[in-house]
Amino acid sequence: MSKFNFPESIMSRPVYGTLEPRSGKAHLMVADAQGAEAIIGLSKADSGLLSKTHIIYIPKGTGDTYTGKLEKLGAAQLYVGPSYEAAKTRLQRTLAGAHMGLQVYLSGTEGLMGQAMLEATNAGIPHTAIQTEHRGSVARRMQCVHCKGITEDVMTDPFVCSHCGLSLFVRDHYSRRLAAFQGVCIDAEDPGNVPASVELYK
């Protein structure tokens, strides 16, 4: 099972649910890695859903574990891409041509869901109307609040900013606008005094 129950945290931290089929004439599902399992779950819950669905999927290290299964779902469109960045223009184009009533389902890692959510809200869908389900890695997309650089797939706390090299404390403070959590210098008061890194949620 690829689900992880995040402990309760501050208001800012996104909370994920379980994807459920909704009524509508068009559906868009965006997933990475183990997020495919949530899409397969949706197709079981409503067998008619996938024929009205466009799936954008990024295997992200799972190779072809899920691609064959996704192909068998009979989606109206299935795109399997090498990275979120590669899939982003397709996602933007899909949203630009979509009509109200489109249902958006996001599943997989927090970084994928956050970035796809940002595109969907930019296109005019209220964030509260977008369904999410976390699957797979608990890695986070972090913004360094000092240099503003983004470090993807952060697994440890503290971590080293991949742009400016500061040691950053992983906060639960989240920005929907940036689709990233905030990383704050951990040794600003006492330079050099950096605690040992521990894996997130271990």
Binding site: A96, A98, H99, M100, G101, L102, G124, P126, T128, A129
Partner: protein, 321 residues
């Protein structure tokens, strides 16, 4: 009375008969100076001194939100109502001094929307007149679908179709014209918000169809002022102020509370805003809930009442007021 919002003393400076049912009133500040600005969709509560009865009825502001020299409202005459609209039509004259509340907006535009789709029924057109002026100034993207009974009763149809021929669509019931709602909602671009103001049946129809087509609840806005309905007189004990009051046949519970000199909060006086929500301490009888603020389970609980529109029938009712 400090409840509600700040009050403004105004003078009626113009009265125009729009058609057989609708009359327009213009209010200018009695002391001179400027009125507060408002945003499209706002209403004002007009105080009417009708003999020994004081009525407080909400009306949508239809003038340009940026015009601080005057407020205008349109009042539809309701011959079956409790008399507020008849008072406005029959008793108010140019030069009269009246009191209106600061504007309150419970039907504002969501300015994050990429397009505003407006649906009006009858006198429900009034808030849109102000919203359209606001959006025109901001170069907003909007379109209006306006259903009315017939040409003679189509308030402001000529004005709307001559100023915005490409954005205004009018439907006359008497000519069997109606909004093709499913097709209209189906093709709207992402980021469109719906605004509907009109009779309850129209609001329910639009909300129901939008939900069926998968529109997010957050993108569907509606406003329906419920006029308080008459009913059997009843007695209420106000526990905090230690008073027993009688609610008359043509009086709302809120009006009776105010008449007894008890300060009760309110904003919309039409069952929508939630300000006047009051706790019930005990009761023996049945509630006639008419608001659309409380949830169904709250209506059933017997613990809350919205005194602006809801009534009670039975032996005793004790309120925490």
């Amino acid at each position: 009375m400090s409840a509600g919002t700040e009050k403004i003393a105004v003078t009626v400076t113009d009265i125009v008969k729009v058609n057989d049912l609708v009359t327009r009133f213009k209010f200018e500040p009695t002391k001179g100076g400027l009125l507060p600005t408002f945003s499209g969709g706002a209403h004002t509560v007009v105080e009417m001194k009708d003999g020994n009865i004081t009525r407080l009825n909400p009306y949508s502001l239809m003038s340009d939100p940026w015009d601080q020299s005057a407020y205008t409202i349109s009042v539809r005459r309701d011959d079956e109502g409790r008399g507020g609209s008849l008072f406005m039509h029959n008793s108010v004259k140019v030069g009269d001094q009246m009191v209106v509340s600061n504007p309150v907006n419970l039907f504002s535009l969501d300015l994050r929307a990429k397009k505003h789709l407006m649906l009006a029924g009858g006198i429900g057109i009034t808030p849109f007149l102000a919203q359209i002026k606001q959006l025109d100034r901001a170069r907003g993207n909007w379109e209006l679908h306006y259903a009315c009974r017939n040409e003679a009763l189509g308030s402001y149809v000529d004005y709307l179709t001559s100023t915005h021929p490409n954005d205004v669509n009018v439907y006359y019931d008497d000519e069997k014209q109606s909004i093709d709602l499913e097709n209209l909602l189906d093709g709207q671009p992402l980021g469109t918000h719906i605004y509907v103001c009109g009779p309850k049946g129209m609001i329910d129809w639009v909300r129901g169809k939008a939900a069926e087509l998968g529109w997010p609840r957050e993108a569907v806005h509606y406003e329906e002022f419920l006029a308080p309905q008459s009913g059997k007189p009843f007695e209420v004990k106000l526990a905090v102020s230690n008073k027993v009051i009688q609610v008359g046949e043509h009086e709302s519970l809120l009006e009776a509370i105010e008449r007894a000199g008890v300060d009760a909060p309110y904003l919309c006086r039409g069952g929508a805003c939630g300000q006047c929500e009051t706790d019930v301490i005990s009761y023996d009888g049945k509630f006639l809930h008419r608001d659309h603020w409380l949830e169904d389970n709250e209506h059933a609980s017997g613990k809350k009442i919205m005194p602006c529109v809801s009534r009670f029938e039975g032996k005793t009712l004790v309120l925490d007021r």
